[in-house]
């Protein structure tokens, strides 16, 4: 217990990058206040209306509440790379989805300022039967871009993904690495204000991993905010200045990446 390394808004949350001492550095772009997310799970899964109606009549409809996140207070500054660590099911992805507007909080408040690019699951919007080219356009539309913007982006996306040879083949013929490359390339073509990355850099070969890391790094230097979920402590430590450790939907520790990782590791070896 007592691993509360809370150092919210300490001066050390300022990016080290001296060259980028820009006026907007101190502004808060992501803010979570007392946020909770509740999943309502029927104690038995009810699939059909018939079943629902019968149970409703018998008053046997029981719901089990499960709080995926509880009492989350978090504030992330512009230009910051923030890491999220924790075991599976701790609520890391749910937290990212709150910022991405996929989920609306059950309680509390989520405030996000800026254009968000979600890299939640690579190529979530890709359709296996459509070609890479068609998918880039469809995916662009899913991310809210207009057709004209996509015409302009197309070339660059395929260049970055290095997929010119396969761009007119259906995506089902792609390897998972190619799939991931196209996903990363289309989501990060234009620098977003906020980039959400969920454990996705583990796919793709090493050369592409380096390439994507370099791109994220350059986004951050240009003032983009990055929230990174990863099980790779090395990645968190190199990329992020601050981090938070989530455990069973609650923040166990928050502070500088090094300290939080240390606390997390200690928590793993001697739980409780």
């Amino acid at each position: 217990m007592s691993l509360h390394i809370v150092s919210e808004s300490l001066p050390d949350s300022m990016p080290v990058n001296k060259a980028k001492a820009q006026p907007f550095i101190d502004s808060e772009v992501i803010c979570l206040q007392d946020v909770g997310v509740r999943y309502r799970i029927p104690s038995e899964r009810i699939h059909s209306f018939k079943e629902y109606a019968i149970r409703r009549l018998q008053r046997k409809l029981q719901m089990r509440d499960f709080w995926a996140l509880q009492d989350i207070n978090l504030s992330i500054q512009q230009g910051e790379a923030f890491g999220l660590i924790g075991n599976n099911g701790a609520g890391k992805s749910t937290l990212l989805k709150l910022v991405a507007r996929v989920f609306r909080p059950t309680s509390g408040r989520v405030l996000v300022i800026g254009q968000v690019a979600p890299l939640l699951e690579f190529g979530a919007g890709f359709h296996p039967e459509l070609t890479g080219r068609e998918n880039i356009y469809l995916n662009g539309a899913l991310l809210g871009f207009t057709r004209n913007e996509m015409e302009e982006k197309f070339q660059r996306i395929v260049d970055f993904a290095e997929l010119w040879d396969f761009i007119d083949s259906p995506m089902r013929t792609y390897s998972s690495g190619m799939w991931a490359r196209l996903g990363f390339a289309s989501a990060t073509d234009v620098q977003p204000d906020i980039l959400l990355v969920d454990e996705v850099l583990s796919v793709g070969d090493e050369a592409f991993q380096r390439k994507s890391l370099a791109r994220m790094e350059s986004f951050r230097e240009n003032g983009a905010t990055i929230v990174l979920v990863s099980h790779s402590m090395d990645l968190i430590e190199t990329m992020c200045r601050r981090a938070a450790w989530l455990d069973h939907g609650q923040i166990k520790a928050i502070g500088s990446a090094g300290e939080v990782i240390q606390a997390y590791r200690e928590g793993q070896t001697n739980p409780g």
């Binding site: 699939h47 059909s48 209306f49 629902y52 909080p105 699951e121 979530a124 919007g125």
Partner: protein, 275 residues
Amino acid sequence: MNKISTAPVYDSARRVSPALEELKALFQYNNLVLQMVRRDILTRYKRSILGVAWTMLNPLGTTLVLAFVFSSVFGSTVNYAAYVLSGLIAWTFFSQATNACIVNLVWGGSLLRRIYVPRTVFAVSSMGTGLVNFTLSLVPLILVILVSGIPLTLNALLLPIPMLFLAMFALGVGLIVSNLAIFFADIAEMYAIVLTAWMYLSPVIYTIETLPPQYQQLLKLNPMYHLINLFRAVIYEGRTPTLNEFLISGGIALSTLLVGWLVFTKKSDEFAYRV
């Protein structure tokens, strides 16, 4: 560098009206609606040799069968083939478009768990695809009308109005059923049965005059009766609809759409948890 002041702000606590926000988001994502309609049309016609022709041949074939079977029963109806076909394509639009709402939203479910898209794009793009097919099926209708010797009047130019009303009504219904289908998987099956019954309760293959008087009044409670009639008025009867007919159909369409939109947007935040 006033980046922040121009950046979009999302605040989960400040929520004026989900219905209005959804409308705004839908306009922002208009390209997505276009892309989805495009995808639907492309995938539908890519595989068949006759392609677009099927959209026109299909109602034509059905009409031939119906005209042959029922002409003895409803023989008194003038130009029965044109009567059936006009009702049939309006009905087909309605049933296909509302069904597409269910299919598209359930398909889109896996997306809704991963990224943010306005939830109504699935229903709205279903209407888009439906309207394209609807417009294509006007070709065989006009053909049959000309062959039957029905004069095509200038009133046919009013066609977009009944079509718009039908689309609004279908969107309202589609939003409600697809919303239910997210929560209960068997709604799709139930809706198929409802549609069959609904079709026979609408004057698609018969005229209202063939019914006993007491049922005629009942039939007028069916919104599709008014919508189909307005459609038939301009193309089959070739007359200008009365103001009353416009108002009733428009009122039905608008109020259904409004109710559907409100119900759907009220519930749509839960979708991500459910699908």
